[in-house]
Symmetry: C2
Subunit: 353 residues, 2 copies
């Protein structure tokens, strides 16, 4: 929201090829599988013998998926890459390349796009992935990003959604609900800002964790590395993007299983817990339905239980059951509540004009 | 433009997953390299031993790249896939998969999207590629598509843009300029329609070829097959999407060569030729700067000349020179004109609001 003395280079002055050149010049290929990155009709990748190639793609639309009122462009670039990498990790695979396509209105200057690409570059460097292509064009309104991540795995190690079995233990990494609460906080501060005088200062200091989880999520590369190190192959896996409820339902529906989740086992960060109460929200509801956690939700064979107990940041939260036993939350009070897809709901979003 | 008794199912009723299911149900995987298509965090592809994987991606924005006033959704879906496949063929490789991501405003009904996907499916079937993933979300305005094509090649056969040498012959498939003239015609008919009474009937009968080249282009799979059959590896290659001038400049700049193009050799379809004259345009200018032809522009070693002469739909249009000899058109009158990038110009488009 700071406009003073900002340098502004009109994008039209550069042309498409000039723009791509400026934006992608700082990217250096790191991966042996990257044969040819940007600059031809297509990127060229060479997987090693016996490897499988995995592709995941996401589209992010301004006003639908992000709000530039409170999302710094650098964070947006970082998050856009990370959430795609998360999809590759969720297959128990390792991402090595990304493509980034942009549609942009002329509201954006070169400096704004450079900020966006700085975030993209940080993510690429941190996760060791190469930017290998994309497309850049104009939009009629706002910023639209389409990102594709490419990963590799040995064939047998890929973890699908449809291979869980009754009796498998349900595990989740990290904690849940904080990103959603961070979003609520940012939305509240935005409203206060819009209704207030010019010198309004948002107060986010005490909720750094939740705001950080919303604006700068990380993908759980460490969990995939831990599983590989311990020789554990998840029997099914997904990343928590839509919310624990919705993503658990994907595993159960595709695997043909039921499940039970223990409320008192669901990991919730203490800051998220108290922020939920401050907003008059039920912390477990935020954890179940919030979404955008980008944690890994996976199932393991019962024999691997101890290896999960030994892990620093993995929690066993339930067990897979037979399909006819339903999908339920066992509350702290000892009652069973059916779990429904109250996570991120495309219906509401698609209903917008 | 026909609105009578049109069935309309609101997309919001289906939800994101329901929508994906309905739209992608008719797609059947055809490729041995497709291990897992839609329905998990990522698509899984398994290239054969020693093969390289190629990726190409494009973003298409309503109001920038297409106008639904005169573009049937089925044609749009078909074209969106084909232009991406063209990028893979332009690497002398064979596409086998695509991903399709959409951002859509609630102006679009399920039936409209099914029409779009019917076109996508026709293209997939015709070119033998599998739809393996994508993302579907809402937009604030109009339709935005992001398509990624994945192709495969033996490492040594990939044709890059930066490997042409002085003395190489410059070849092009098919003919040039017709798609641009088709677009001019559609734009003119649109204006007439907007200014006229309700029973206006566009008159496109005599220009079927040009309109077809604009609305339903094909990628030159046959040329790639011919080159493979004859054992010819192009020394450089690109597809003509921005216009012959602009795309030739890419080959020359990246290869560090000059070039000469013979005006009287540039292939122009007779319908395009007479339509250009009707519009008071110079046919050679349309061929040089029109774009969207999706023909292959490539260079070959002089020894392969006869094989090009024998081909049904390949024309030798010039020769690569030393860089200091410049890049020129030799006109029918015998004069040299410098070739500049007057093709599709991102600057103009990015300058739009």
């Amino acid at each position: 929201m700071d406009k003073e003395a900002e340098k502004r280079t009109e994008i039209g002055r550069l042309g498409e090829f000039g723009l791509i050149k400026v934006l992608t010049a700082p990217f250096k290929a790191q991966q042996a599988t990257t044969v040819k990155a940007i600059g031809d009709d297509a990127a060229v990748l060479a997987p090693e013998e016996g490897k499988q190639v995995l592709l995941s793609t996401d589209m992010l639309v301004e006003g639908i998926h992000f709000d530039l009122m409170y999302t710094p462009l650098k964070h947006l670039g970082y998050k856009a890459v990370v959430v795609n990498l998360s999809d590759i990790y969720a297959m128990n695979a390792v991402p090595q390349q990304v493509t980034v396509s942009l549609a942009i209105s002329n509201r954006f200057s070169l400096e704004a796009l450079e900020e966006l690409y700085e975030g993209i570059r940080y993510a690429c460097e941190r996760y060791g992935v190469d930017l290998v292509g994309g497309d850049t064009t104009s939009s009629q309104k706002g910023l639209i990003m389409s990102i594709t991540a490419i990963g590799y795995a040995q064939g047998q190690t890929v973890a699908y959604r449809n291979t869980a079995k009754p009796g498998d233990l349900i595990c989740v990494s990290g904690d849940l609900g904080a990103a959603y609460l961070g979003l609520q906080l940012l939305e509240r501060e935005k409203q206060l800002f819009l209704e207030s005088s010019a010198d309004f200062k948002p107060d986010l200091e005490d909720q750094k964790y939740c705001v950080g989880r919303q604006l700068k999520p990380e993908a759980r590369r460490d969990i995939i590395a831990y599983l590989a190190e311990k020789g554990v192959k998840p029997t099914s896996m997904i990343d928590v993007s839509d919310g624990l409820s919705s993503d658990l339902l994907h595993l159960c529906t595709q695997s043909g299983t039921g499940a039970i989740i223990y409320e008192d086992s669901v990991p919730i960060h203490e800051e998220a817990y108290s922020l939920a109460l401050k907003f008059n929200l039920d912390p477990i509801t935020c954890a179940l339905s919030g979404g955008e956690d980008y944690e890994l939700l996976f199932t393991i064979a019962p024999d691997d239980r101890q290896k999960m107990m030994d892990a620093e940041d993995i929690t066993i939260i339930g067990i897979m059951l037979e399909e006819n036993q339903g999908i339920n939350l066992l509350s702290k009070g000892g009652n069973l509540h059916p779990i429904t897809a109250q996570g991120w709901d495309a219906i509401q979003r698609l209903g917008k004009p």
